[in-house]
Amino acid sequence: MSGYFTELFTGTKSLAIGLGITIKAFFQPVVTLQYPYETLEMKPRFRGHIQLTQDEETGESKCIVCGMCQKACPTGCITVAGKKPEGSKKKALTRYILNFTTCSLCGQCVESCKPNAIEFSKDYNLASFDKNDFIFDLLKRLKEKS
């Protein structure tokens, strides 16, 4: 019989504690992000698809068309092409295609790049009905950005 009443009191007490927790949560600020209207700033180490970095002096790509990224890529999703402009010693980039459908974001290309010409972007709103939308022309992107 004594167990009956202790159970009754502890039970009632725990119910009251539960109500206290929910009412506290009720008056706390909401934590949901209203996604299409608000977006999160991605953290520095977030891995989006790769993009070309910009040379701060020239505004062009830092790429020297060595082709290391193309070789390093395990799925072969990078295609690089370049040619020597007349009167110049270095090759200049003419085409940088990333086939993002096969990219696994492993980062081998970024690792292998000596002049730091590629980096991870912070794009994550990637959705499309067309597979061709994921074949990115990174050089065109760089020009659009600058």
């Binding site: 008056f27 600020p29 909401v30």
Partner: protein
């Protein structure tokens, strides 16, 4: 002689009461969703209108535009009668609820008895709906609803008997008149019985169980029984069930307010008026919502244990104690 003809009075009250029930059903859903949202630290409805205030309208339009489909194998008559059987008793009960001293559709001497008579009918709505649906989940739900209602009707009615012994009347308006200030509210009327606050709690818990509200919503247990007795109901069939359920919650809270919290009487002589009734009513309804989003659904035997092992013995003790107090003092 009454300045307003009786027929007109009837029509006005009927329209207002149905409107009150419908508006409550619509906006309690909004309150429920907003409350659930904020308790879980979300926002809740926000897209339709400012603060999502037009959400009930959008939901209503959605329900009304749906086809009233009759699934194969259902009992066509009972299937259609069931939602009405749930809604009509709830709306009927509003007739005796005194919103203020004069604002009451019918000031019946046996108002309390009438409300409980109608409250017992609403379980029939769930039972018939579940039975007619020809769906195993609906039948399980109906069985649960009935056994739950049987179990909780007992402590509730014992508490009501206790209250009637104290108040000496079943007229709701007279019961309210007996509680002119906060110290004379029946929750705090320790001269009648020292267990009055407990009686209030028992009554409130039972009204939660009677209206199939969480944590006692075993009849509609959506995670186990889909939507229980309402599973097969399309569009407005479900809408009427839903309205009936919310109207029942309003009735349950209104009766609790009248019996224990002084109805339309103001607590300290502050601005007396009908709004006190609504304030207390909505405070209780908010508590119902708050409870729903706090506690998980109980298991079925725990539900029955609570009734038979806790609520019934305690309400019986309260009954005896009150009887003794009346005899002695």
């Amino acid at each position: 002689m009454n300045p307003i003809p009786e027929v007109l009075r009837l029509v006005i009250y009927l329209t207002c009461l149905i409107l009150f029930a419908a508006l409550n059903a619509a906006y309690l859903v909004w309150v429920e969703r907003k409350g659930a949202g904020h308790i879980q630290r979300r926002i809740g409805p926000k897209e339709v209108g400012p603060f999502g205030l037009l959400q009930p309208l959008a939901d209503g339009i959605k329900l009304m535009t749906k086809q009233l489909f009759l699934p194969a194998g259902v009992d066509p008559v009972l299937f259609k009668v069931a939602p009405i059987l749930l809604l009509v008793p709830a709306v009927m009960s509003f007739v005796t609820i005194p919103f203020s001293e004069t604002l009451v559709a019918r000031d019946i001497n046996l108002g309390l008895l009438m409300i409980f008579a109608f409250a017992s009918v609403n379980v029939l709505g769930v039972l018939i709906g579940g039975w007619a649906s020809n769906n195993k989940y609906a039948v399980i739900s109906a069985a649960r609803a009935v056994s739950q209602n049987v179990a909780y009707e007992i402590p509730m009615l014992i508490t009501v008997i206790t209250m009637v012994m104290v108040t000496q009347t079943m007229n709701l308006n007279e019961i309210v008149m007996q509680q002119p200030n906060i110290f004379k509210w029946y929750v705090f009327r320790f001269t009648a019985s020292p267990l009055m606050p407990v009686a209030f709690l028992i009554f409130f818990i039972c009204s939660l169980a009677e209206t199939n509200r969480a944590p006692f919503d075993l009849a509609e247990a959506e995670s186990e029984l889909i939507a229980g007795a309402y599973t097969e109901y399309p569009g407005m069939g479900f809408g009427v069930f839903f309205m009936g359920e919310y109207a029942n919650i309003v009735i349950g809270c209104a009766v609790t307010t009248i019996l224990f919290l002084g109805g339309w009487q103001c607590p300290f002589g502050l601005a007396p008026g009908w709004w006190w009734f609504l304030a207390k009513l909505y405070l209780l309804i908010w508590t119902v919502v708050w409870i729903r989003w706090t506690y998980p659904r109980v298991q079925f035997y725990a539900l029955l244990n609570l009734s038979w092992k806790v609520l019934i013995p305690i309400s019986l003790v309260n009954l005896l104690l009150t009887g003794a107090m009346i005899k002695v003092f």
